[in-house]
């Protein structure tokens, strides 16, 4: 019997610690050079209205105003190190620093203010999640169902000779797909199915189409979901197929065959439950991969979800949005790990939760 209880606590604790550490690291690094981030912001706004007389003085007041608005005038961390004419001194600031404010804001569920317009970024994330959650949820379901079906089909052939015929072709196709970057896949789909010159059966671009009937909006999700599914399907399928063919070579499979079970019964009733465990491990990595994939897919198909929000934040040097993205993705991974552990216990009755 394996003491999963303590292991799960350790696993989740470690992932939570890693989430906090990486988000803090990104937060501190992004604000290390405040001057530069203000410069980048002002460059963006300057290009919008560039008729400024007396530029130097304006610039200084403008910078001060921007720093004041975004709370960048406070020290970054609890302590700071200053160097004046070769004399180094350390200062303790207590709670009046940016990092402390960020942490206390997080504990109240506030993600911070955007560098772009000074608005809170929480509501923006919730609005974007309304697009991304259906996308990733459907992709997870589709990938799991597809992997089960294709994995069973791949492993169903004769064992001795290796895959032949259509199974070999499918295997080759999946290995080819496995290495393909997601953006090339999505572009290929866009070209094949949403192209005015070729097949134009599925609509792709959402241009302020919030008043559309729901079935039209659902149709727009088909291609992005398909792209995400195709991106993660090969790994899951090949993993499951190899686990299944390993199980088919074991003694209990021979016994089951000797009892007169058909190949199908053997696969579904006996081999599949045992082959599920490696699949569950891969499942824990699936959700974060899909979140990262959403960046690419939502850019290609112009969906206003979290991935697009992140891609735009990168373009606009809007670091608070990126820090929130890192934090939320790390939390998604935490969730996926916990879920996978729970499924482990469900899939393998030998594993018991020991307090």
């Amino acid at each position: 019997m394996i003491p999963v209880g303590r292991w799960l606590v350790v696993q989740v604790g470690r992932a939570g610690l890693a989430a906090w550490a990486i988000a803090s690291l990104v937060f501190l690094l992004s604000r290390l050079n405040t001057e530069k981030s203000i410069d980048l912001l002002l460059d963006e706004t300057d290009s919008l209205h560039s008729t400024v007389l007396n530029a130097g003085e304006m610039k200084a007041t403008q910078r001060q105003a921007v720093a004041q608005r975004l709370g960048l005038t406070e020290p970054l961390f609890y302590v700071t190190r200053t160097q004046h004419a070769g004399v180094v001194s350390w200062h303790w600031h207590g709670g009046h620093n940016q990092y402390h404010r960020w942490l206390t804001g997080l504990s109240h569920g506030q993600l911070g203010l955007s560098f772009r317009d000074g608005q809170p970024i929480g509501p923006r994330w919730w609005a974007a999640l309304a697009y991304t959650l259906p996308l990733t949820g459907l992709a997870t379901l589709g990938a799991t169902a597809g992997a089960l079906a294709l994995g069973l089909a791949l492993a169903g052939g004769p064992q001795a000779t290796g895959p032949t015929g259509w199974r070999a072709a499918l295997h080759l196709l999946l290995t080819g797909l496995q290495g393909l970057p997601l953006f090339a896949l999505a572009l290929g789909l866009l070209f094949a199915f949403a192209n005015p010159d070729a097949l134009n059966i599925l609509p792709a671009y959402t241009d302020s189409a919030t008043d559309e009937p729901w079935h039209q909006q659902a149709l727009r999700l088909v291609l992005p979901v398909l792209a995400l599914v195709l991106a993660v399907l090969p790994e899951l399928t090949l993993l499951l197929a190899s686990a299944l063919s390993h199980e088919l070579g074991t003694n209990y499979a021979t016994t089951a065959r000797a009892k007169g079970l058909t190949n199908k019964q053997l696969l579904r009733r006996h081999a599949l439950p045992n082959a599920m465990l490696p699949l569950l491990t891969a499942f824990a990595g699936l959700l974060p991969t899909l979140v990262a994939g959403a960046v690419v897919v939502e850019t290609v198909f112009a969906l206003p979800g979290t991935g697009r929000l992140l891609a735009e934040a990168v373009m606009m040097h809007d670091y608070p949005v990126l820090v929130a993205g890192v934090l939320l993705t790390a939390l998604v991974r935490l969730l996926a790990l916990t879920l996978a552990d729970a499924l482990y216990v469900w899939a393998d009755p030998r594993i018991r939760l020991v307090p």
Partner: protein
């Protein structure tokens, strides 16, 4: 496997090698090739034109929606593969092999540093950071280090003393930290500032790519360090560093031979994804990802998709093939 199938695999393998050599050569020699159009310069008369081989000078593979010659962009795009992805993959493999090898070989208690050494290191850090009480604290730490050293000389201990460096815990901690977020996201966050230099992009790609080879080498090293020949080398009295570097590490790096091409393929995919999203580099640097990104303005440009997408897919498939063949041979 039948003989004809075997022969066709071999043909595919050599075709793949040939394509990779072609990419390498065009990446290295792009500035000296006699192309009729310079890179990143729009031909304003011919924007988003399909290949038409009647005009002169000919756009052999057409032009993209910004009027750039597709053939030139492809050749210069191979330069990105050679100057960014290839060095990044090589460096990531090297860093991963060393870090994973060290973590696997020495574990958490393999290297002990005597107390005097630790005290001296703390004193040096205190002095360097100029923490409060710079002189007094670092001097007293140095004195304690000297005392500890003198004591250890006077009383030779029966068992190894000192405090071990926890290589393995450090290694696993860093891996957990980097694994908390998908690598595309890490790269995006670090590339969100102003456009990066080539060396900075390479460093960024190494940062996200080294954990994979490191994990493999560590797993292999845990097996290798128990093998009789490593034990024999230790018993012969060789210093630990030499046993690690000359005897254990070459064996532990065996699996890297097959996975290095796959790691390179992953980095080429990541690099072209960055170029496609327009992150980290100025938008006029020619690359395959950038070229494919122009498809968003002109979704019907089949010649761009076919040439740039084809080049990318061929390269990735050839690298996969190479990895599989190397796996079979080892």
């Amino acid at each position: 496997m039948s003989q004809s199938a075997c022969r066709s695999t071999h043909t595919g393998f050599w075709l793949g090698i040939g394509w990779l050599l072609l990419v390498l050569a065009s990446g290295l020699a792009a500035p000296w090739l006699p192309v009729s159009f310079p890179p990143a310069v729009p031909d304003l008369l011919h924007m988003a034109e399909a290949p038409a081989w009647a005009d002169s000078p000919v756009h052999w593979l057409g032009t993209d929606p910004q009027g750039r010659d597709v053939l030139t962009e492809l050749l210069y795009g191979a330069r990105q593969v050679v100057s960014i992805s290839l060095p990044a993959a090589a460096l990531a493999t090297l860093v991963g092999a060393l870090a994973g090898g060290a973590a696997g070989f020495w574990g958490n208690s393999g290297v002990r540093i005597p107390w005097a050494g630790w005290l001296a290191v703390v004193a040096a850090c205190w002095w360097w950071l100029a923490l409060p009480g710079r002189w007094t604290v670092s001097l007293s730490l140095i004195c304690m280090a000297g005392l500890a050293w003198w004591m250890s000389r006077r009383l030779p201990p029966a068992k190894p003393s000192g405090w071990p460096i926890p290589f393995d815990s450090l290694f696993l901690g860093i891996l957990t930290l980097l694994g908390a977020v998908p690598r595309l996201l890490i790269v995006l966050v670090f590339a969100a500032g102003p456009a990066l230099e080539t060396s900075q992009i390479v460093a960024l790609l190494v940062l996200v790519a080294w954990p994979e080879p490191a994990r493999q080498v560590r797993a292999q090293m845990l097996r290798v360090r128990e093998l009789p020949f490593v034990e024999a080398a230790r018993a012969a009295g060789l210093p630990g560093m030499r046993v690690w570097y000359r005897h254990a590490l070459p064996h532990a790096c065996q699996p890297l031979l097959a996975t290095a091409p796959l790691s390179l393929a992953g980095l080429i995919g990541l690099e072209s994804t960055l170029a496609f999203l327009g992150v980290g580099r100025p938008p006029d640097v020619p690359s395959w990802g950038n070229l494919l990104g122009t498809l968003q303005q002109e979704p019907g440009a089949w010649w761009v998709l076919a040439s740039a997408g084809g080049a990318l897919v061929l390269t990735l498939v050839a690298l996969q093939q190479l990895g599989r063949q190397l796996l079979k041979r080892t």
